[in-house]
């Protein structure tokens, strides 16, 4: 029976030793330490990875195909386990997520440098451009204005930014391959379609000088058309530009299309 005793002793040791290292992580001093946080945007349609030119079915017996899929993300900030918020420097805190620039796994990377080292539990980001940034005027936009113009993400300065561009065609019971252009944005200062999204991380995101955690964010494009509101493309939603009603519906739908699938700490 000695053998049994040894067995338990060994198992106990292994169990204890595997627990013990948790204690020192809380006392880790992170003052002054910064690291990089990578956001991986991944566009999908339901459980399918989004692919250009693929026909996707939606409600109302309609389907759509896209050749352009991009949107603006801004004001990224993360909250740590103690409730402190780190906001990425404002001037650089605006990005275009363009499916055409995705890697072979269909992911678009945004690297946030010099993020305070901490254990983060939550992320908030904006979809589009908020009124404060717009109020800075054309000169206050820095390089982003040029970048947005080149990407076709601007109407005129007076009208402002296009927060998204979904360009392609749609088909319904009555039409085949009609033009589809969803260019939702705010309209000057008269219509505010900027939305914010807050998502909890499924696991703690540990930013350190030596580790670059990745947050895998999924945008379910199907929800843009069939989200909070199901829209009919053949009934006013094939061309969405500056109309107060349709742009607001699309903005609200898109706001709820995001989720964090998983995080990697490495």
């Amino acid at each position: 029976m000695k053998i049994l005793k040894y067995t338990f002793a060994l198992l106990l040791c292994a169990t204890l030793s595997s627990c013990s290292s948790d204690d020192d992580s809380n006392s880790e001093d992170l003052t002054g330490q910064t690291g990089t946080l990578t956001l991986k945007f991944d566009n999908g349609v339901g459980d399918q990875d989004f692919i250009f030119g693929t026909s996707y079915n939606k409600s109302s017996a309609e389907s759509y195909k896209l050749e352009t899929l991009k949107y603006i993300i801004s004001n990224v900030r993360v909250k740590d386990e103690n409730g402190n918020t780190f906001t990425y420097p404002s001037a650089d805190n605006v990005f275009i997520v363009d499916e055409a620039e995705s890697n072979n796994a269909g992911e678009i990377y945004i690297d946030l440098d010099n993020v305070d080292a901490a254990n983060y539990t939550e992320i908030t980001f904006g979809l589009g451009i908020d009124q404060d940034r717009y109020a800075l005027g054309a000169e206050g936009q820095g390089n982003f204005l040029t970048q947005a113009e080149a990407a076709g993400m601007m109407w005129s300065w007076a009208t402002g930014y296009r927060f998204m561009r979904f360009d392609g065609t749609f088909s319904s019971a009555t039409v085949t391959d009609e033009a589809l252009n969803i260019h939702m944005g705010s309209v000057g200062t008269s219509l505010d379609n900027y939305r914010e999204i807050t998502l909890q991380f499924p696991n703690t995101v540990r930013v350190r000088e030596t580790t670059t955690p990745q947050v895998h964010i999924v945008a379910d494009i199907a929800k843009v058309f069939d989200g909070e509101t199901s829209v009919e493309l053949s009934n006013g939603y094939s061309q969405v530009h500056t109309d107060a009603t349709t742009t607001t519906v699309i903005a609200n739908n898109f706001q709820n299309a995001f989720s964090v699938h998983h995080v990697h700490n490495e």
């Binding site: 053998i3 040894y6 198992l11 292994a14 595997s18 399918q48 990875d49 796994a105 696991n203 490495e266």
Partner: protein, 314 residues
Amino acid sequence: MKDFQNTKTILLILAIISFTNSYSCDLCGCTTSSGSASFGDLQMTSFVGLRYIYQTYESKNGIFDNSPTSEEQFNTYQLWARVPLGKSFYVSAILPFQDLSRKFQGNTESINGVGDMTLIGWYNLKIYKSNSENKEAIDFSTNKELTGHSFNFGLGVKAPTGKFEEELTDRVNPGFQVGTGSWDAIATVMYNYGNNNLGLNTTFAYYLKSENKNEYRFGNQFSVSSNLFYKLKTKKMDISPFVGISGDVYDSIEQYGETLADTNGHLYNCSLGSEFNLKDFQLGLQYTLPIHQDFFGGNVEAKNRFSVYLNYKL
């Protein structure tokens, strides 16, 4: 006749256990260095030898149903041995060399190196026939007739002799590693039965995995495997064809003390093979086919496995 009935009962129990629990795979490179493919040969001989295990997996490289897949090939070369220490004790050891590669959209990447070593100390308990009136009693004293039943109790460790690369954990298949980087405890019980022409080996093993220096901990693992073999004696050699079933159940992986979603799983296999005993040498062939599996949220699929070993009997 009594023996035959015992065997039947035991077989039935094992069949039930094997279907309700599971055992077997060495999942992938690192988590695989032992378990599935058993710690030794069928006949429980003492040996030193070489074993080669070839496994393939298909992993999804992305999170969607239509994400592209990569194909992973695991070549494991093992130096393995079972060495007796006195009458009732023996030691089994496995030192693997891993050569893993993965093909994705025309690109191939490889990692290779020494894997994690496994060392197990065993105590062998033979069951003797009872000579008392009470047929149910089991007498442990010596100088008795053997029943053919025996138990082996093993305790061991898996040492982090292989390299664990944290960067690779970003893969859909976290098992694409030559080592886990952790010290793991192994507790195992083996039941053997053999008569003149039939034999049965059943192994239960529990792997208690510890956290490695990257605060990454592979899930604890429970394995069961059972092989039934037939001894065919010819003039030149003994041939032992066998069939087996096995199963492995894995707990979730933990990192920084937090559970990672979709990292648990199970795998049930059936296998078919034969062992050839010729004088001092022993040759074994085994083909293993998954029957049912669910790994890493269905993102990793184990394909069939092939192993071959050549041992020199001590």
